[in-house]
Structure formats: structure tokens, C-alpha cells
């Protein structure tokens, strides 16, 4: 992978993607939630969030938050998402079901904030109630200064988080753009129904 005018040093294949750009992108305000977030045994959810928030604060020239000060900040967000405060002591995603991991991603988003949040299939694995809590949290984060890009295959998420734009992608290309009515149209008629719009 060649990047930005200089050759990257030779690395083992597994290390190839561990570039500083990922950290820079995140600190620049880009949040990406993962489709299948992994476990990190040995690192608690609390410590993980604390490290992430202090990385941001360092970039902004703010002093680091201590573990005790951070607790009041984070416990509020945990409650808002209707998650158990105990999960903060558990290791990142350890023993979490798929849906719980997705909720944990949203917790991270709500604690860290973002200018652009990419939510990749945030609705998969969540039951009706959990989905409502997640949607409520995402809606609460939206301001005129930030945006969310959601990837989904299902209508129900779009009923809860009303999109301003809908893009249909096929084979890596955006083939159609519209407003939320485009989504309802596809929901009723299937993707083949938009052929007439193209």
C-alpha cells in the first residue's frame, strides 16, 4: 500500500494496516463502528474509553482526565443507553453478545463524539427495545455540525433515525440518491423497482 508520496516500510502482512493514519483519522473526528467488534481481553471497557478520551484531550491541549473524574461522565452515558454500569469493569466486549457489542460501539460514540460517524449495520443483532435505545442515543448526538452515515439492509432502523439522504450502492458504486422516500419505495418494491428511476 503506497501512501502520500512516500513508500511505506516493509512490514509483515498483518502489520500492514497499523498505520498512524488510523489514529489521526479518529482524532480528526471520524468514528467508525465495526460490523463485528472484537474482544480485548485484559483491558476493561472503562480503561479503553479513558485512554481514548485522553487521546482526544491531549490533541486538543486539555489535561488528561483521571479515572475518578471520568466516572461521572461515562456513567451518565451508560445509563442513557440502558446498559448495566457493571459492564465498565468487564473487559472490552468480553462475553458480550453481538447486539451488546453494537451497543458498546454506540456507547463509545456517545462518550467520544464525532464529526462523522460511520455506523456499519448497527441494527444487526439488536432486538426491538435495544434498537430503540441505540436509535435514541444516535438521534441525541446529531447536531447541525455533525453527520452520521448508516449502512443497513433494513427499513426499521430508518424509521427510528430519519435519514436526510439515502444512497443506494451496487457493485461499489452509488447508483441512486434520494431522500427517505427512496428507502420506503425499495422496502415495498425491492431493488428492482428502482431500475425505472435510473
Amino acid at each position: 500500500m503506497r501512501s502520500w508520496g512516500r513508500t511505506a516500510p516493509a512490514r509483515a502482512p498483518s502489520q500492514r494496516f497499523l498505520l498512524a493514519i488510523h489514529t489521526t483519522r479518529s482524532l480528526a473526528g471520524l468514528f467508525m463502528s465495526f460490523q463485528a467488534p472484537i474482544e480485548i481481553p485484559g483491558v476493561s471497557n472503562y480503561d479503553f474509553l479513558l485512554m481514548a478520551i485522553n487521546a482526544r484531550r491531549e490533541k486538543d491541549g486539555l489535561p488528561a482526565l483521571g479515572p475518578l473524574e471520568f466516572y461521572s461522565v461515562v456513567s451518565q452515558k451508560v445509563e442513557a443507553l440502558k446498559m448495566e454500569p457493571k459492564i465498565l469493569d468487564r473487559n472490552v466486549n468480553e462475553g458480550f453478545s453481538g447486539g451488546e457489542r453494537k451497543r458498546n460501539e454506540i456507547l463509545q460514540l456517545s462518550v467520544l463524539g464525532a464529526d462523522l460517524a460511520l455506523l456499519d449495520e448497527i441494527d444487526s443483532g439488536l432486538d426491538v427495545d435495544a434498537l430503540e435505545d441505540v436509535a435514541h442515543a444516535v438521534n441525541g448526538l446529531l447536531t447541525p455540525q455533525n453527520s452520521v452515515l448508516m449502512i443497513t439492509h433494513y427499513q426499521r432502523l430508518l424509521d427510528l433515525i430519519k435519514p436526510s439522504y439515502v444512497h443506494i450502492m451496487e457493485s461499489g458504486k452509488i447508483v441512486k440518491t434520494g431522500d427517505s422516500s427512496l428507502a420506503s419505495h425499495i422496502n415495498e418494491g425491492g431493488y428492482k423497482s428502482i431500475a425505472s428511476f435510473v
Binding site: 494496516f17 489514529t23 479518529s26 480485548i40 485484559g42 483491558v43 485512554m51 467520544l112
Partner: protein, 496 residues
Amino acid sequence: NCAPIPSPLPPDERHGEASPAAMSPPSLCAAPPRAGPPPPPLLRLRRRAASSVAASRAAAPSVSDDLVLRIAEQLEDAAPSSPLLDPLRSASALSLLTTPWPTRRSNEAFRFTDISYLRSLPISTPTRTPGLAPPPPPSDLESHVLFSDGRLVAASGAHVSALADMPPGHARDRAAAAVAASARFSHRDIFYDFNAVGASDVAVVYVPEWAKMADDPVHIMFAYSGSDGASLMMSNPRVLVIAEKGAEVAIVEEHFGVGEEDGGCYWANPVVDIIVEEGARVVHSYVQRQSPAAAHTKWTTVQQNTSSKYEFVEVSTGARLNRHNLHIQQLGPETETELSTFHLTSQNKQIHDLHSRLILDHPRGFSRQLHKLIACGTGNGIFDGNIQVNRYAQQTDAGQQTKCLLLSPKAVVNVKPNLQIIADDVKCTHGAAISGDLDPNELFYFQARGVDAKTATDALLFSFGAQVINRIPFKAIEKKALAQLKELLAVSRQNN
């Protein structure tokens, strides 16, 4: 074999108060009463053993190893008389007569372990008065034992005493019998034998039936001042723990160097024997943070009776050469054994070796073993985890896992998990993972949340070791070990 023999102590100081004639009790080693000047060192041991060999009508002794004998005789000279230890001493002396110094080719138990450091300097023994005063024990732990350069200097607390100071009674009989029984330890090696010959006394933790004191740990501290580098000061502290039926006791064992900043030059050769009677429970935390110029060769033997529990957590970060022999013998069914060890080689050429052996001869034993090792720089880690599930150990549930992280291209790890299973109705699992990197997916997750690779690496390395350290049940000890881990990882990062 070229190290000079230091001159032995003058005759009148050698044997303390006891008169020479009354010294040895009638036993295997009935030495003739001393008369005239003491015989030259090399012969004394051989002469004793020769008479005992004649008495037991064994075959003529085979070739003896000069180095082994020289060290044994030095230790004999320095150790004061102690009748209760005699059965153990004589059995080990006999064994040392015919045991060669282990080499990597001749002895499977030392195939991966380079013990040449032990021969790199002449051996010295501590002088009569203990060296620098060891630090005072933390006040929140009531029972404590203090060894200074291998000599027992303090033993206080409800169930703690030096063997020699125990009042006559059931506890003393039990302790004496246990010491005599260790003379028959069948898996002995020269380190076990050196300790038997060189130990001046035994610290005994005797917990009577049904006494529950797992919340008030007995703190056993081993302080070593060592020498300034001209010799390897050898010390042989010995501890015996007996938890009688239904008793519960916690031991915290710490080994560390005292004195100038880098610590002295010494060879610590401790032995801890633990007997867990029926239904009893022993919780054992062991922290080894010896000086970087030290050698530390330790034996921990455990005998577990029916329905007993032994929970062991080890954190070893110090010493240039560290070898731990952990030997657990099951004596009855339904035992529980939990072993967790963490070794960190952060100095160059540091060697950390765990040779563990769990022998199961009875049904329905439960055991879990976790071994973790981080090797930095040119450090060398060794793990030989033996579990024997013998014929009558049906319905055993045994699990073993070893995880090693090699943080530099020159670090070396030798891992030999070995399960020998004869029973046919058992559940045994084992896993070994050796990796040269932290999981890149984990590092990526950190980066994707804004945490740079260096901070993420530090966090993941720390948590690798913390997984074991968090199992220490006493917060003060746990915190100290965690802080030390953090410091050592930071130092090692700077050096590499």
C-alpha cells in the same frame, strides 16, 4: 572446576555450642567423634558417606562430581548443627555423592536451561551476623517470617515458628516427621539437596485443624544482600507449611535484594514444602524480584490430600537466572489445584524457567494451570509443564495453557507442555501459544478510537501480565506487583 575454595571457618567457630562428640545423633551418618585437627574438606563428606554406605550395604559409590562436593562441603561447614534436620541432611549428602552437576546434554530437566552462571564465580556463604537489616514488614500483615541471606531472623505470629524453637508437642512432631519424610523425596535434584545440606533451620507455619486464617496471610520475606560481585553468596532458606485437616491459610512469599541500587550478587536456593491435609486450603502468592545479578533456584513441593485446595500465583521478574521447580503430588481424590504464573525477562540474557509437575493418582481431581511469559531483549524463557494422570486418576479434569510473547527477534522461548495420561476416563486440555506480536486486530481497534500504537501496545502488554497478577488475593501485594510490571515494561521499551 577452577574456582578456588575459600578457607573454611576456624574449627572452634564451626559447630557452635554443641560439643563435637555429642554432635551427630545415631543415624545413617554416624561420624566418629572429632579428635585433633579437622580433616581436609574434600574428605569429610566422603568419609561420612562411606560409613553410611557400608552400613546400608549399598554398592560402592560411583564417580562423584568435584564441583558438587565442594559446594556441599562448603555448605556443611557453614550450617550449624540441628538434630531435627539430620535425617534430611544425611539423605541429601548421600545423594550429592553420586549426582553430577547437570548439563544440558546429560540431564533432560536442564536441556533448555543454561545454568553456567552458577559456576561463573566462586561460592561464598553468609557470615554469622546477617547483612543489612531487611525492611520492616508491612504492618497490616500480622504473622510474618523474615529470612536474611537465608538465615531465619524472625518468625512471629500465632502459627509461625522456627523448627528449633517449637515447644515439644503434636505440632513439633508433625513438623519433624515432615522434614524427615522429605528425605525420601524421589524427584530431588542437586538444588534440593544443596538446600537440605545447607539450611540452618526451617521456618514452620503450622495451622491446626479447622483453623481458618486465609484472610490474614502469613508474610514470608526473604531479603538478600549478597556480595559485591567477587563471589556468589549462596543461601538456603527453608520453609515448611502444614495445613491440618479443614484448615485454611494464606502465604505471601517475597524474595528480593536489599542494599545498593542494583542489588547484590548471590545465589538464592530456597525450598518451600507445603502439606495440605484433607479438606484444607492453602492460598499461596509468590513474588520474586531478585537483584539482576542474582541466581534463584527454587523448589516448591506440595502434597495435597483428599478434597484439599491449593491456589498458587507466581510473579517472577528478577534474577539473572531463575529456575522454579513446582512439584505437586496428589494424595487423595477430589483435589483442586489452580496454578497461575507470570514470568518477565526484561534484562538482557535473563533466564526464566518454570518446570512444573502435577502428579495425579486419585480420581476426580480438578486442576487448571495458566503460564504466561513475556521475553524482551535477549531474554530466554523456558516452560516445562508436566501433568501425569495415572491409572487411578479417573474423571480427572485437568487444563493447562501457556502463552508466550516474544518482543524482540533475539528473545528465545522453549515451551514443552507434556501431559502423560494413563487413565481412560478423563478430561484433559492443553494449549500453547507463542507469538511475536500483539494481536494486530486489538491494536487496530485502539487506533480506530484515537489511541496511538505506543499507548495501545503498553496497555496490551500490561494487561497480558496483569491477567495473572490480578489473581493475587491481597491488594497491597497485587498493586506493588502491577506497579513493578509497569516500570519494567517502560524500562524495557526504552532499552529496545
